[in-house]
Every structure is written in structure tokens, then in C-alpha cells.
Symmetry: C2
Subunit: 253 residues, 2 copies
């Protein structure tokens, strides 16, 4: 039996990045797509506890079933694994995201929320992102790297409880220098909101922000991307800062 | 000048747990509350890029300003730090959440999303949660522990880039045995969605789930809580699994 690959994203089921990913995935196995009906960028690891979800069948055909759901990317993963995959998937993919999910962006990312949820559920999972926000971004530079990494993970698996956060520079493939395995750079978004006045004279605030990278040394994902490499960060669903446990025990136990 | 403490939560500005927290915080300093208008449980680290936000002044008085915002807990933190705090806060608090944010729940939690955002922005931050979902939960058992931890962090700070995820058993204070500094237990939610049929005969899916703890040894937060201790997990905004970097370099570089 061919491998089964579940695909989701946060840009919505019709995004060009998802189509690129499902075409590559079909080279390796049967594909189920369960993705949000609409844009869920910035939805992080959020779930939908307060209302029911609906699922719409977009396409059911030999080797490719596509469903759209009105929940978040994490909802999509949970729902697909429980109700829409004909068997246990061999791999869960998310993306290809239109825009970076490097460094701190992994926390806000619905693309990576889905990947981390799949890890919690015990599946090998990979998130792919291209550093280009445009709806019509050119994913040509991504394709050989996506193919290489998918083939490798299908063949060799991943360390337990680890998924991959793959970010790809917005360059033609012959200008990408290779792959670097990295840690998340320490970054932040400053000047997060812009205050404006509506036509009736009342204030409102709109999310914006300036991305600031506090760490550009070799070894971080931001360094790799700015130097023309694909970055892979091994990612796990654990926020524990282990080195802080011992000193805090002195204070509180 | 008295310390300034910024408070948010994910249960909404009117929640009993937030009132408990702001009353304790006022013993230590001036307080700004910026919290969601309504329930934002399960909103994780999500932000609101697609629509403007509004802020409503609930109360402005000597030592206590309360604002309600129609964004997520992370939006609340960003917006308050940038526009509503009269000076740089000395401490950011979130909660007291009605319900556990131990183990894997930290990922879904809006309460902890806000805390981690404050850490990224360079502030000392603490999330408090009581293991009782009821709107009318009794926070009496929490109070001495909240007071102790707030006083300590105001006096001594926290390790760089580390916040605290504090969970408190649903017990009277004299039955709580003390504090344990822990790592996140490995857990997951199974059977996530219930499939139902609407009155017109169409299926819908509603989030539910069974919490399963795969790790109950001493040292994890689930062990501490089930044995009558308050758990503190030192938490950082970094999903990198460092031990996996070297073996993956062998495969990809």
C-alpha cells in the first residue's frame, strides 16, 4: 500500500503553496488534504471549543481527497486524523506557507501549530514555508528541497517527539546554497499596533509591527536564511526551560 | 514609585479569577488590566491581523485601570504595553485561569500565550491557573501561593527569557503541600471531536476530548498536581529541540 500523507496549511485550502505541496506529495503516496476554508494566518495553536465545525468535500478522487473546514489548522489536523484519513498517515505536512515561519514566528504560525499538533498525536510532521507573502509567490525554488526532505522523512522517520520547521529563502533554486539545521533565532516584533481614528472619530488599533532580529550568529535559522540556506529547526511541543529548573527549586521548594 | 503590574487573562475581563489576581496585585503596586471582552480559551498565541481592535475603558481609578479589548490575550499584552501602560510594567500576570494549563495545555492556552508574549517583549511574566473550570470556582487556596510568587518575582526577577507557568490544585489551602518546580509532562488529548447530526441531517463536529497523561513520574507538573503540590514550570518562547540538531545535521547538511 502506498504511504498516506495528510496535508494542511493556514493560508486556506485553495492557496498556491498547498497545491505545490500536494502535487509533490502525490509523487510519494496517497494524499488527504484537510485545510481551512479561509486564511488562518496568526492562529497559532488555537482550537475551536465554542462552536461546531463543518467540513466541505472539495474533491474525492483516486489518490487525492481534499476537504475544507471552517476551523483552525489545529482543528483540521485533529479532525482529519480522527474522521477523514482512511488509515493512519505515514506523514503530516503543512504549508507551503506564503511567508516566513522562522524564529519567533513559529509561535504565531497556524502552519506550525498544525505540525506541532501532529507531533503530539505521534506522527512524523513537517512544516514548509517560503519567505514570500505574495499569493502568487513562485514556489519553484522550494520544490527540490521539499522533495528531498519528504523522501528522507518517509524513509528514515524523525527523532521521537520532534517535527521539522523548514523555511526556504525566496530565491531561484540554483541560488540556494543548501540546508542548515538550526535553532530558533531570538527575535521579536516591535511597534505592534498602529492607532488610527475611524470616520466617527473613535480610535481603533490595527496589528502591524517591525521584525527585529537580536541574534544573527551562525547556527540560528535567521542566519541561515539571510545567507541563502534552507533552514530546518527540529521542533518539539515543550516550552520547558530545563536549565532554569534547578535555580528555581532553590527559591520555591 | 510603586511597581506597575499589567494583568490579562483568557476568560475575559469580568472573570472571577482575574478579579482575585488584581486584588492581590494591588497589594504590591499599581495595576493595569487589559483583558479580552469575552472568553478566549483555547486561543493559544494567536493574534488578529485581519481586523481592527477596539478597546473599552471599564474603570480608571487611583491604582487600578481596567480595559476590555475585542482581541486575543496576546493582542491584549501587545496593545497594553504599547498604548495603555503609563510606564514600563515591572511584572506581567495572566489569570487566574479557570482550569488547568499544565503539561501540553500550555500550547492551547490563551492565558499562557499572553505570558509568553510578555517574555518575548522582555518582561517578567507569570501565568496562574486553578484546576477548576467553574465560573464560580473558589480561589481561596490559590491566594497565599500567588502572593508568595508575585512578591518573590518582584524582588528577585526571573532568569532571562524565562516565565513561570503556575498551576494550583483545586484544594483548600491547608491541604496544598507546597510548591514543586517541574517540567511539562508528556500528555495528549484523544478522541478530539464528536460527530453529530444537525436537525436538517447534515454532520457537524464539536471539540471534546479525553486527557491522557503518558508520564506521571516525579519531576513533571502532572505528578506534582496529582500529589497535592502547586506546580511551577519555567517556560521559554523556544520550541527548538536542541539534542536533535546534531543527528539531523548528519542527514541534511
Amino acid at each position: 500500500m502506498r504511504p498516506l500523507i495528510l496535508i494542511t496549511n493556514d493560508d486556506g485550502f485553495a492557496a498556491k503553496g498547498l497545491r505545490t505541496l500536494d502535487e509533490i506529495a502525490q509523487e510519494f503516496g496517497d494524499v488527504v488534504v484537510m485545510a481551512p476554508e479561509s486564511n488562518n494566518s496568526g492562529q497559532s495553536h488555537s482550537i475551536t471549543p465554542t462552536r461546531p465545525l463543518r467540513v466541505r468535500t472539495v474533491k474525492e478522487s483516486e489518490g487525492l481527497n481534499v476537504y475544507a473546514c471552517d476551523g483552525t489548522p489545529v482543528d483540521c489536523v485533529k479532525l482529519a486524523l480522527e474522521y477523514f484519513c482512511p488509515r493512519k498517515p505515514d506523514l503530516v505536512l503543512s504549508g507551503i506557507n506564503h511567508g516566513s515561519n522562522s524564529s519567533i514566528n513559529v509561535l504565531y504560525s497556524g502552519t506550525m501549530g498544525a505540525v506541532i499538533e501532529a507531533t503530539i498525536c505521534g506522527y512524523n510532521a513537517i512544516g514548509f514555508s517560503l519567505l514570500n507573502h505574495s499569493h502568487e509567490a513562485d514556489f519553484g525554488g522550494c520544490e527540490p528541497f521539499v522533495r528531498t526532505i519528504v523522501a528522507d522523512v518517509l524513509a528514515n522517520g524523525l527523532p521521537e517527539n520532534v517535527s521539522l520547521n523548514v523555511n526556504i529563502p525566496n530565491l531561484p533554486k540554483d541560488q540556494i546554497k543548501g540546508i542548515r539545521v538550526c535553532h530558533e533565532a531570538r527575535t521579536q516584533w516591535l511597534d505592534s499596533f498602529e492607532r488610527r481614528i475611524d470616520p466617527i472619530g473613535r480610535p481603533y488599533w490595527w496589528l502591524t509591527g517591525k521584525f527585529v532580529c537580536n541574534e544573527l550568529q551562525e547556527g540560528s535559522d535567521e542566519w541561515a536564511l539571510r545567507n541563502g540556506y534552507v533552514s530546518i529547526v527540529p521542533t518539539h511541543p515543550d516550552f520547558t526551560n530545563y536549565p532554569a529548573i534547578a535555580p528555581l527549586r532553590q527559591r520555591y521548594e
